[in-house]
Every structure is written in structure tokens, then in C-alpha cells.
């Protein structure tokens, strides 16, 4: 039988180190590559019982990804990587005076979130203005609903590419 000294030799620790390094790399890749979707929304919305009217015009920039102009009832989807992000909002009042909000930092907890521009303009804390958005599942075909039916008894031996 091998002694503990023979088992826990240099080779063992090198191998262990490699496995740990790969696991750490996987964790890093997960955090670095994870994409979340943010819906920037300029609809009239109600938060905590208060209604916020859609802005007549707003310009929004998330994480230096370029600015986009918003008219009322506009909603734009922005794919984001990483957890912490910044949103910059420029809007005008009824007399066409332009105002710029201080950049607001926020973090995304959900795969798809929605952030309300009118709420942010009204000074609602970002924690309240940002909510989870549950996407309706994509419709499935009959074949997809029942994948068992598409698997033949002998496996798929077709040569379609």
C-alpha cells in the first residue's frame, strides 16, 4: 500500500493546482462572459402606487455603448456583460430645456431586467426603477413539444447537414 507521502507527492500537488486553476478560469469566464439583457423603457409606469408619465424626449446611454433617443412608448433592449453598469439620461421639460441626470450606477441581478426612464427622471431610487422582466417563452412547434417523437428507434442515420 502506498504511504501518504507517496500519494501526496509533487505530481499530486501540480495536478491539484491545475484543476484549481481551471475551475478558477471557468468562474472567471462565467462572470466575464455572462450576458444580461436590460430593457430601457420609456412607458408611463406605476411604481409603489405612484404613476410616472413617459418622457416626451430622452437620450439614454448605458456603459458608453452609444446614446439612443427615446420617444414616448419606446423600449430598447440592450445586451450587457458584467454586473455593474452606468446609465446616463438626458431629457427635456415642456419648455424644451435640456437637463442631464448624474450618471446612475446599478447592478443587474436577473437575466432580463427593465429600467424605467420616467421613474429615474422623477428621482425614484434605481433599486425601485429596476425590476425583473419575465420573458414569455418562445413558442414551440409540435415536434419540439414532443422531442421523443423525433428520435427514431435506431437513432438518426440520415445524412442531412
Amino acid at each position: 500500500m502506498k504511504s501518504a507521502k507517496e500519494i501526496f507527492d509533487l505530481r499530486f500537488f501540480v495536478r491539484l493546482g491545475c484543476i484549481v486553476a481551471i475551475i478558477l478560469l471557468a468562474v472567471f469566464l462565467y462572470n466575464f462572459g455572462k450576458q444580461r439583457t436590460l430593457l430601457v423603457d420609456n412607458w408611463t409606469t406605476e411604481i409603489n402606487g405612484t404613476s410616472y408619465r413617459a418622457e416626451d424626449w430622452a437620450k439614454v446611454e448605458v456603459d458608453d455603448l452609444g446614446t439612443q433617443e427615446y420617444a414616448p412608448r419606446m423600449r430598447i433592449s440592450i445586451p450587457l456583460r458584467g454586473r455593474t453598469h452606468t446609465i446616463k439620461i438626458t431629457y427635456d421639460d415642456r419648455s424644451f430645456n435640456e437637463f442631464e441626470l448624474d450618471p446612475i450606477e446599478f447592478s443587474l441581478k436577473y437575466d432580463t431586467s427593465i429600467i424605467s426612464v420616467p421613474a429615474l427622471v422623477a428621482g425614484v431610487p434605481v433599486e425601485d426603477a429596476l425590476r425583473e422582466f419575465i420573458v414569455e417563452p418562445a413558442p414551440v412547434t409540435e415536434a419540439e413539444e414532443n422531442p421523443e417523437a423525433s428520435i427514431s428507434e435506431f437513432g438518426d442515420m440520415s445524412m442531412e447537414i
Binding site: 462565467y30 462572459g33 455572462k34 418562445a138 422531442p147 445524412m159 447537414i161
Partner: protein
């Protein structure tokens, strides 16, 4: 001194290269009939080389170890697909997504390769049919896990991956977020027009990865374990006498092949952009083996040259035959049928030729031995 080429040499050359010669003739006939432009064909060939090379290269090491064509590469393809299912579900995109898929696929491929290697060691001399059957068996296990395990036992909740019933992966998983991430990371466009449109796109990073794998295979042949594999491939008993751990070496060959096949499948599917959950892997083994054989490889001998020649010829025919069929008799379907029976036919032809060659070599060596014995007696 110049060596004269005899008719025997010509016959030998033809016999050794009959499959690539048939394909070269077929392609030469089909090119004018199909009527595609040269630029289109080159573009398509580059795409196919980029997509398939890694998979076909994964077949070389088991051949080197005398284990024939590894139909068990399907197991690696399954591992690659499982990796991609996870990263799609977690929404990890682009190159980090593909790298993470490779990291997830590696231990699964190692485990499956080890299992396959163990089985093949129990069926020495019948490796190909055994690996073919193992791939069917593991396909059942894969389907069980993917259909009933994922979502129910394995926590995958993404609507993009899981069926609305809450368990089971969709028939088709969209890989748009990782599609062509490697190809587009570093590519150049040649012969583009003034607007930057058209021309040929050369995905440099993918080609570099393929080149690295080729270098690794060449280097691997020269290492101790590579030499051991070649010795085992030549004669297992002699290798065992020489102190080589034959069983362990064979298992290693299959594990390496399965891991490369997993990476190859990730590259293939990322290039395609769609994962056909229940079918992609079952088709890929057959295509890769057919491509290698078309390149002039045999059950016992294959090189990197065979890989690339095979991919070019096999896929050139795939591109040409539907259009040639349409132009010739007005039906593209005839070309589809043609390429199906050619794929299976080329594997059969290669196996038969290998058997004939082996018997001929045995007969020749027996004849030589008999002559030598007669001379010794005289």
C-alpha cells in the same frame, strides 16, 4: 540513378489512392455541370475546412494506436454539445462562452473516452464495430439525460433551452450568442468590392487553432507516449514485450481523440449557429470518417494531408452534387441522394479495400517466405 516507373508501380499507386482519385474525377465532372463560380467554391471550401478540420483531426490518434476509425468520437461530440447547452442556458456569450463550454466538456469527454477505451480493450481486433455500437448505446444515455434529466434533475431553467413543460431540452437550441465568435474575432476579407462586400472571408484565429492542433499531433507522434502508440499500433504483443502498457496506451489514445472531438464539435456548432440537440452528434461521426477516408486514409494509416484533402474533396462534392443534379435533371434531390449513398459507400469501399490490401500483403509475405525456405532447402 533514375528509378523507372513500372506498370506495377502505377497499379499500386492506383490501388492505394483509388478513393481520392474517384472523388477528384467526380468533382472534375460536377464542377462545370454545377456552374458555380471559382470564388464561391473557394469560399465554401474555406468554411467547411474551418468547420470540420478539428473533428476530422481528432480521428488520427486512435488510427496511430492501431484502433482504426474511432466511431466513438460521437461521445466527444455529445460532451461538446452538453457544454454548449450549459453555456447557452447561463447566457455566457462569445469566446468566453465557447471556452467555458470546452472546460465543461473536457471532464465529460475524458470520462466517456475512458469508458470507450476500456470497452475497446475488451474487444481487441473489433474496435470499429464496438465503438460504433458504443456510440449508439451512449446516444441512448445522452438522450435520457437531455430529455428527462435536464430541467428536472440538472438545474437548467432557461426558456431558450428547456421546453415549456419544465424538463427536456428543445429540439433546436439557438447558438446565436456564440455563433462565429472565433471566426469573427480575427478574420480578413480578400477580393472584396469597393463597398467591402463579397470576396473571401478568411477566419484567421480558427485557422491558427487548427494549425496548432496539427503541430500538436506532429509533436505528439515524437513523444514517448506517441512512440508507444505507434508501437502498439504496429504489434500489440511486441509492444507489450517491450514493456509498454498496451491497455493504458490504447485508453489514452481514445481519451485524447474524444476530448479533441468535443472541442471540434464546439467549433463546428459555433460555426453553424444552431444545435440540433438530438441529431447533430450522430451525423458528425459518419461525416468526419467519410471525409478522412476520401482523403486517402485507411483503417491503419492516416495523416494530416489526408484530413485536408478529404475535407476539400468530400465537401466539394457535397456543395456540387445538389446543383449538378438540378442542372442535369432538374431535381436537386438527386444530388442529395447521391451524396448520402456516396458517404456510406466510401466508408464501405475503404473498409473492403483495406481488407483486400491486408490479405494481399499477407499472401505476398507468405510467398516470399516460401521462396526463401525453398532456397534454403536447396
Amino acid at each position: 540513378m533514375k528509378k523507372e516507373i513500372t506498370s506495377k508501380d502505377v497499379r499500386k499507386f492506383l490501388a492505394n489512392n483509388i478513393v481520392p482519385i474517384i472523388f477528384i474525377v467526380l468533382c472534375a465532372v460536377c464542377i462545370p455541370i454545377a456552374g458555380y463560380s471559382g470564388q464561391y467554391l473557394v469560399d465554401q471550401i474555406i468554411t467547411r475546412i474551418v468547420r470540420n478540420s478539428f473533428l476530422v483531426l481528432s480521428l488520427l490518434i486512435p488510427i496511430m494506436a492501431g484502433m482504426g476509425l474511432n466511431f466513438g468520437m460521437t461521445l466527444g461530440a455529445m460532451a461538446g454539445q452538453i457544454g454548449l447547452i450549459f453555456v447557452t442556458s447561463w447566457n455566457v456569450v462569445s469566446i468566453p462562452g465557447l471556452l467555458l463550454a470546452a472546460i465543461i466538456a473536457t471532464p465529460i469527454a475524458v470520462l466517456l473516452g475512458w469508458f470507450c477505451g476500456k470497452m475497446l480493450n475488451m474487444a481487441k481486433g473489433r474496435e470499429m464495430i464496438t465503438s460504433y455500437m458504443i456510440s449508439f448505446f451512449m446516444n441512448g444515455v445522452y438522450q435520457l439525460i437531455v430529455l428527462y434529466g435536464m430541467g428536472a434533475l440538472i438545474p437548467i431553467h432557461s426558456n431558450r433551452v428547456i421546453l415549456p413543460r419544465g424538463y427536456g431540452v428543445r429540439n433546436t437550441v439557438d447558438l446565436l450568442d456564440v455563433r462565429k465568435s472565433i471566426d469573427n474575432f480575427w478574420s480578413i476579407r480578400l477580393f472584396a468590392d469597393e463597398n467591402g462586400m463579397g470576396g473571401l472571408t478568411i477566419p484567421l484565429l480558427t485557422l491558427i487553432l487548427i494549425a496548432i492542433l496539427c503541430v500538436i499531433i506532429i509533436w505528439f507522434r515524437k513523444t514517448k507516449i506517441g512512440q508507444d502508440m505507434r508501437a502498439v499500433g504496429q504489434d500489440m504483443e511486441v509492444a507489450r514485450e517491450a514493456g509498454i502498457k498496451v491497455e493504458r496506451t490504447r485508453i489514452l489514445a481514445i481519451i485524447i481523440s474524444t476530448v479533441f472531438a468535443a472541442y471540434g464539435m464546439i467549433i463546428y456548432l459555433s460555426n453553424m449557429g444552431t444545435l440540433n440537440t438530438y441529431n447533430s452528434h450522430s451525423q458528425i461521426g459518419m461525416f468526419s470518417i467519410a471525409a478522412l477516408l476520401v482523403g486517402g486514409a485507411s483503417v491503419s494509416k492516416a495523416s494530416i494531408k489526408n484530413v485536408f484533402l478529404g475535407i476539400i474533396l468530400f465537401h466539394l462534392m457535397f456543395i456540387l452534387t445538389p446543383q449538378a443534379g438540378r442542372n442535369l435533371i432538374g431535381q436537386a434531390q438527386i444530388g442529395e441522394f447521391f451524396r448520402v449513398f456516396v458517404s456510406y459507400g466510401v466508408i464501405t469501399l475503404s473498409l473492403v479495400l483495406y481488407e483486400i490490401r491486408t490479405r494481399r500483403e499477407k499472401a505476398e509475405s507468405a510467398q516470399t517466405l516460401a521462396i526463401e525456405q525453398k532456397e534454403a532447402q536447396a
